[in-house]
Symmetry: C3
């Protein structure tokens, strides 16, 4: 997996002073490596510190992939070497926690696969709208002997209830847009042809409102709904522990031998591939 | 907006010693002013102190409106001058908190618009059934620079999850009966022609059960599900702060110039109007 | 009601070292008496102590009944005489709490009626899949003057929200498979013809994954989602108190005179029968 200029892996596009787009553009699979995390952290700081910004929409420029699992060809040390962020959490959970806390409203516009990091980002956004036909959400980690690191164990049960959260996490299977709406994993699954316009209209609508009212309303919702940081931390620590276990190393390696990390069936139909390990 | 005899704004109708109806009847828009709150408080005390009562159903006698936002033509001082209630909270959140805690079972039967106070009442009721065709639920406050005062920031995330709660509150848009069922904002959206009979049958059914069993079951559900009063208080305080800000005053005034507070499009299609401010 | 050999009331069937079936087989109604509880406790200990087991599926061998309410013809003292379990809770809530905490993944496969204990078991399982056509879930207790003892007051609001939880508990009515999916009471309602294969495939899938990853993922979900034991205890204590009240004794006796505890309409259409007491 070659690494292009990190600043090009995520594009920041201000539609207006109050409404930005952040577009994931790391073809062909929108994997997340250490450089991607560093670039995301820069953008997170920009979101937090801009005085006028009210709404940020996350989307993808890569066909078939909103945001994908971690890049297993990257050096593990390059990820763990990134210093902790201002929350005291490691870089990736730090970004996600800051996104939930900032007064800027975040909307995930999901078309294509949102697996691992992609699902974790969706769960950290304030809202999440997905393409009914072209979305697969998943937390695939348990299926390869890993534990997820970006908070789904603490966020999913609060969002969709314990039973459905355990199904998503322990089955490690792909969840379609339609099921994501039924489960409440996404706000709504919209017909693909309407998704872009729907999200753009909603973003512009919220961006037209008073920032003080937005900020204080989100602050009070957060008080009632955000998990404690210690649960994010515990998930991350367990994820790190799982990475170096032989069970995970063996399973990830076996999946790579079947085409994982390359465009094609293993990535497109990951849920099925995970279910047919030998 | 003329104020009729306050006792006529809400009608209390005992169907039987164990089953009462409380009917909102403040035409043409079922707005809530200070007199409405005072009358509601009297009824709340009657509900709490009756020894035989088991079920109360809230409905409306006003075509198109279950219960609407506050009356902005009323004097703000008339509202803030009402002494705090027994919970220590201001009058409106006090009524809502007492409704959740009383052993009497409350059911909202919603046909027409339930905006602001109407939605807050629905969220404080033990159950909520809505007309599939004729219901619009909304928390419109952020759209005019306000913060909601009756608890939706603390109740909605617990009921429908953080993402959908933030969408309802930050979009400030109208939510149809059908979407309310999908989101879990209402228990169920029933065909309009079946709604009255369904709720009446359910109310009579529960009213036929043993009061001790009802009381203790609700008490234990409450222990697992009610938000802390401090979150209700924080929401109310922020609401009061938002009312006097120029951002809200300007936006409400502009909406009034377009027909708000009068029968017609601005009230009927409030979500759209809020989205098309200039 | 004759009591057969207790060990035959629940059958333990290891499909493989990592995947067991536990089948309720107490015809004709799958009632739960003291012997059933003792047998379930043995099985719970076996589940907890087996080193290889990863998934257990609960199902029924009795046509029309997954798992039913308690056996009211059994001696109350035989139930209360069972010593508390390792959690310090009484035998039935002890089993349910241990099921939620064990690292073994539990799946309820529900076809037929799951009333009282049956619903409480479903709520304690990690996942629950039901037959769309042939399932009725219910917490019937309030309808006969009882309070439920196995935790639905604390689990249901966390799973399906306060409003729907209060409806299920206070209406004491039968909930169809379709409504159970809409409410999130079950993970999914599947066409009856697909249910067995779906659950078996899911169980085998999870059983093929790494036990350490399963264990740690479930542990972290539990931290975010399980109710405190004190709420289970409070529910059980109130249930015991309700049992000996004349209101419950009279109502249960009246229902027995109408065919309750025998195969037939009173058991099959329990929700209707409860709603037509005189």
């Amino acid at each position: 997996m070659t690494h292009s200029n990190p600043s090009s892996q995520i594009r920041l596009n201000p539609i207006s002073p109050t409404y930005w787009r952040v577009t994931f553009d790391n073809p062909p699979l929108n994997l997340m490596g250490p450089e991607f995390v560093l670039r995301f952290r820069e953008i997170m700081t920009a979101i937090e510190t801009d005085a006028q910004l009210k709404v940020v929409v996350f989307d993808s420029a890569v066909e078939g992939f909103f945001l994908n699992h971690s890049d297993f060809t990257a050096k593990f040390e390059d990820l763990t070497a990134i210093p902790a962020g201002p929350t005291g959490l490691a870089s990736w959970p730090d970004i996600l926690v800051r996104l939930t806390r900032t007064s800027v409203v975040s909307i995930a516009l999901i078309r294509g696969r949102a697996t691992g990091n992609g699902s974790e980002l969706a769960l950290a956004c304030d809202m999440c709208f997905v393409s009914r036909e072209k979305t697969l959400l998943s937390q695939w980690e348990v299926g390869v002997g890993l534990v997820a690191g970006g908070g789904p164990m603490t966020r999913l049960p609060r969002l969709i209830g314990r039973g459905r959260a355990l199904e998503v996490l322990l089955s490690s299977d792909d969840i379609t847009g339609e099921l994501a709406q039924i489960y409440g994993y996404a706000n709504r699954a919209l017909p693909d042809a309407q998704l872009d316009q729907f999200v753009d209209k909603l973003a512009r609508r919220i961006a037209s409102f008073d920032k003080w009212a937005i900020t204080n309303t989100k602050r009070l919702v957060n008080a009632a709904s955000l998990p404690p940081d210690v649960e994010m931390q515990a998930g991350w620590d367990t994820c790190m522990e799982s990475f170096v276990r032989p069970a995970a190393q063996t399973r990830v390696k076996a999946l790579m031998a079947r085409g994982f990390h390359e465009p094609g069936d293993a990535e497109n139909r990951l849920g099925e591939y995970i279910g047919s390990q030998t």
